[in-house]
Amino acid sequence: MKIFHYINFLIMFLLLIGICVLEDFLVSKSLSDIQNRCYKIEKVLERKENLKNMEIILTIDNLEYTWLNYESEMCYMVNHKSIQEIGEEIARLKLYIPSNDINSFKVSLQVIKSYCHSYLHFMGANFHNIL
């Protein structure tokens, strides 16, 4: 019985460590990937000054699809409300394409990058967050 008790606590300890590692890995992987994809979109924008082209449309669709996947994974670990702004901004990006509103599109991209950057800091394990 006593051994069972110790095993229980060992399992819990390992489970907690597992959760922490998984959360850190998932958050940093997802947010860094989204950030990189935004940089790539910016580079495409430098080459093509029109939003109504297949490359931009496909990249944004791809970004949205990737984000939805990441979001569903992160929902197990992170408060859903804390990450919903990124999804909202991606949806906005798609709205700017038909009207070819490049300025607003660029602003939204910046906002997404900024959210990713701040979430990476806010959700990661560091001394600031602990205190």
């Binding site: 606590f9 819990m12 907690l16 670990m77 408060n79």
Partner: protein
């Protein structure tokens, strides 16, 4: 809504598991650190239950952390008297043969009303009946009465009394408790025979029995549903 229901069930089961792991002491006599833990657990459990956007893991992770912490604290305090005194405190004598120790009462932040309420709970209404009163680490007061006010025991009267045995429940609400029947060394048929022999109707069935207990020396108690209970003597049990 379904999400909330499923989450509530899940969290309830986890909290139940957590309390089972912490042991029975947690439910009765709580030490200060256990009280703190219980309060935090109660609060933590409700957050993911009510807020759907918060992952269940946000409730589970701190719960498991607290259980681990509790386990470590208990383990250390079991092995170190000093540590135990730091986190649980030590028993304090608040009443001694000279009277109430006011300094101790002030240290414990205890008023005379609190003290008297605790003494009354112990069955003592007059302070002069008390030799010692000790405030335990779990907040309960233990009382040692003066010799002349201590309850008389059979030992004091030098009476020869047969030992008491713990009665075991053989039938409860129409069902035979297998482990207890094995412990008593009685088969289902033997139990039914004893019941039928001692009940008003000879056709009594198991489902009519509310409670049937027996002790080592064969003292039995039988109560049928919707009827009065009766005690009787039956054969002495072989095993127990």
């Amino acid at each position: 809504m379904l999400t909330i229901i499923v989450r509530s069930i899940l969290i309830y089961l986890i909290v139940l598991f957590v309390f089972r792991l912490m042991g029975k002491r947690q439910l009765g006599q709580m030490q200060p650190f256990e009280l703190v833990l219980t309060l935090i657990i109660a609060d933590l459990a409700t957050i993911p239950m009510a807020e759907v956007s918060v992952p269940v893991l946000h409730g589970i992770a701190p719960l498991l952390t607290l259980v681990l912490l509790h386990f470590i604290l208990t383990l250390i305090s079991r092995n170190s008297q000093k540590f135990s005194k730091i986190i649980s405190g030590k028993p304090v004598i608040i009443i001694n043969p000279k009277g109430i120790d006011y300094t101790a009462m002030k240290k414990l932040n205890l008023s005379t009303d609190d003290l008297f309420a605790a003494l009354r709970e112990c069955g003592y209404f007059n302070i002069f009946e008390i030799q010692y009163a000790i405030m335990e680490t779990n907040g309960k007061v233990s009382v040692m009465p003066k010799t002349q006010f201590a309850p008389v025991t059979n030992g004091d009267l030098k009476k020869k009394i047969e030992n008491n045995y713990i009665p075991i429940i053989l039938v409860s609400e129409g069902k035979i408790i297998k482990e207890n029947a094995e412990l008593a060394g009685l088969s289902n048929n033997e139990i039914l025979q004893i019941i039928q022999k001692n009940s008003t109707k000879k056709t009594t069935k198991l489902k009519d029995v509310l409670l049937f207990t027996i002790d080592q020396v064969g003292k039995a108690f039988l109560q049928l549903k919707y009827q009065e209970g009766k005690s009787f003597q039956t054969k002495r049990l072989v095993k127990q």
